[in-house]
Symmetry: C2
């Protein structure tokens, strides 16, 4: 008898009819002879309704109270889904995050799961019940309600699967798997049968919004096999995310990720001396701006040019901070660009295949696409290009690396 | 420094604007130098919205899951009110029933409070915070969410006041106090300044819907002074419900209660023998029908007639049961009437004043109102009359006992 954890997001439970559909799917999984835990999000319109109510009362509501407010969203869904499961003839019981002891730290609205007590859940499973758990929420040591932040239900599902040593954690979404790239940009994009945790992490961090990054990290850490499936089309195998296996090693590249939300800033003519990188990035970090790519070049006159990228929403604030730093350091000038995108090749096969990067640069050069920045990791090569080249760049690379063929 | 518990019902927190009004009132109470605990219900439309969702999924949803569902209503209100209090510049913190350890039995949807741990609340009060508590809900020993049933927020407030040894428990409603009778029936009805717990219990059990009966019982048991106030009109003193004092003893009658929801059934010609009352009422109780007044008369032929009243909603079911009993006991006939009402005089002064009942019967007789049944208690005289006499009866008695004068 296998233990399966299923997670359904806000769109999948967005109406009474959809909740009934989910109930039928869950019931079918149990009829196969499996023990089933279901983790659900708030109904899709609910979170926005609650946010709007709070916004009428305060521009800066306290995170603790927002967590009390928003956590009601999943609580409504667990009750409704459990009622629907009863109507399907299944024994089932609902639990809030606090009730199954999803213990988190106390960082309201962005809490991290520290521990789950799987005993109570296991007892209900052993009694033949389907266990329905509220995603996205937990309690801290003082019993305060916390939330894991948007998308945190994925993390709840994976953490629950890890605690129960589940055989598979199935994430039901509005897509039927992980694709070689976004099909809206490249219609030839192909669904992957398998992908490794590491690759999925890179895809996710680069804007592929299928799964929450922390959920993938968690799954990798505890080796929980993750499967992404469509909650609307039945029967598809989806994409399995697991540890690297032999079959995977044959592919060089798994997919192409991209991110439209990038902006870059360059500080020109900074007198070069040890510690200058810290002097520049320290104040940026101090105002909670996350820096992505960093490139430093030495110029000939003992000054250096320093470029980094960040989320486009942070551009204005980062530029203000950098202008001050430039004055303090006696730098020549600050220039910036918000019309850039990042395109990345991702694949564990890169490790054993040389020349991926140069093939990539060659393919882009042939189409006249100028590369502004480059950064590489063990399983990823990223380039920054002008925003207008996004579609052309993605399609060119998809073709060049033969991703349309299985 | 006094401890004040305030309770605001669903209408009082029915919109964002009303929640802001409540926040201003609560803040004003704290500025007087008092420690304030606020108990709130779900926003008025919320419970019905949630009930409708569940009804789409099942005709008979499990009470455990309904409690999980409905308890989100108050949780939304506590968060919103606390955010509103922050906007008023007050330190405040919200708590669900479970978080302040409102321990109940496990009778879902009708749970009874067994214990409250006031320590956590007291700590927050001592730290200068307003404590906002979700009414209507608690947890049982296994950590399941329970609800106290409709109107249970009053009970939460009183139980909280008792646990904290509060100086006063203020119940804010859509009326500005307790009246000598329903002003919609008798426009000369007068707001009472004071009333005893016992009298309030009689008024409440007879259909005066200002307060929940269990809340009044609880307040009486732990001697928590209760005050009923209007949540819409500010400044009024409302009505204080407390122990009997000298001043109160001067009034004979405090008020006139009535109940339109009554029906009566009579079983005629029952062979009279010991235990016959139990043989008739046992099966009625077994199907969970609450019987109110009971009258038995002996007739001359060794048979007896037995009449009782119940809620009009239970009439059909009770009649079915009674027809079966009549057959078994060899009784002559079952007759019933759904067009009756109960009118009651209530007052602790009755104890020391003879002749209240006969004055009552005299006043009704003068108007040609025929009395169908009579029942008396230490502080109450009730009569059942035809429904058409309700208004005339109430006004006649209000006049006869001089209730319009303070």
């Amino acid at each position: 008898m296998a233990i399966i954890v299923q997670k359904y997001g806000g769109t999948s439970v967005g109406s009474v009819e959809r909740i009934q559909n989910v109930a039928r799917r869950v019931a079918a999984e149990q009829r196969k002879g499996n023990q089933v835990v279901v983790v659900v999000s708030a109904m899709s319109s609910e979170t926005n309704r609650l946010l709007a109510l709070a916004a009428e009362l305060s521009e800066t509501p306290e995170p603790r109270e927002m967590d009390v407010l928003l956590s009601t969203g999943e609580q409504v869904t667990i009750a409704l889904l459990t009622i629907a499961l009863h109507s399907e003839g299944c024994a089932a019981r609902s639990f809030t995050g606090g009730q199954v002891h999803i213990r988190t730290d106390s960082v309201h609205s962005k809490a991290r799961i520290q521990d789950i007590d799987a005993l109570r859940v296991q007892a209900d499973l052993d009694a033949g019940r389907i266990v329905v758990v509220a995603g996205f929420q937990g309690i801290d040591e003082q019993g305060n309600i916390t939330t894991l932040g948007r998308g945190g239900s994925d993390t709840t599902a994976v953490a629950m699967a890890a605690a129960l040593k589940a055989d598979e954690c199935q994430i039901f979404t509005d897509v039927d798997g992980v694709y070689t790239t976004d099909p809206r940009v490249e219609p030839k994009a192909r669904r992957l049968q398998k992908i490794t945790f590491e690759e999925m992490l890179e895809m996710a961090s680069l804007g592929s919004k299928v799964l929450q990054i922390r959920a993938v990290e968690f799954a990798g850490k505890y080796n929980v096999p993750l499967r992404v499936l469509s909650s609307f089309e039945e029967g598809g195998p989806g994409t399995l995310i697991s540890l690297e296996d032999e079959e995977m090693e044959q592919a060089k590249i798994s997919g192409i990720a991209f991110n439209r939300d990038e902006a870059k800033l360059t500080i020109l003519g900074v007198p070069d001396h040890p510690g200058v990188a810290h002097q520049i990035l320290g104040p940026i970090a101090a105002v909670n701006i996350e820096v992505d790519m960093i490139v430093q070049n030495i110029s000939e006159d003992d000054t250096t040019n320093f470029t980094f990228t960040m989320h486009r929403n942070d551009y204005k604030k980062a530029r203000q901070v950098l202008e001050q730093i430039a004055q303090q350091l006696g730098a020549r000038e600050v220039i910036g660009d918000q019309q850039i995108v990042k395109i990345s090749l991702v694949g564990v096969g890169m490790r054993s295949h040389a020349g991926i990067a140069s093939s990539m640069f060659e393919a882009l050069a042939k189409e006249g696409i100028n590369i502004r920045m480059i950064s590489t990791s063990e399983i990823k090569v990223s380039v920054v290009v002008d925003e207008k080249y996004l579609e052309l760049g993605v399609r060119t690379l998809h073709e060049a690396f033969g991703l349309a063929e299985a």
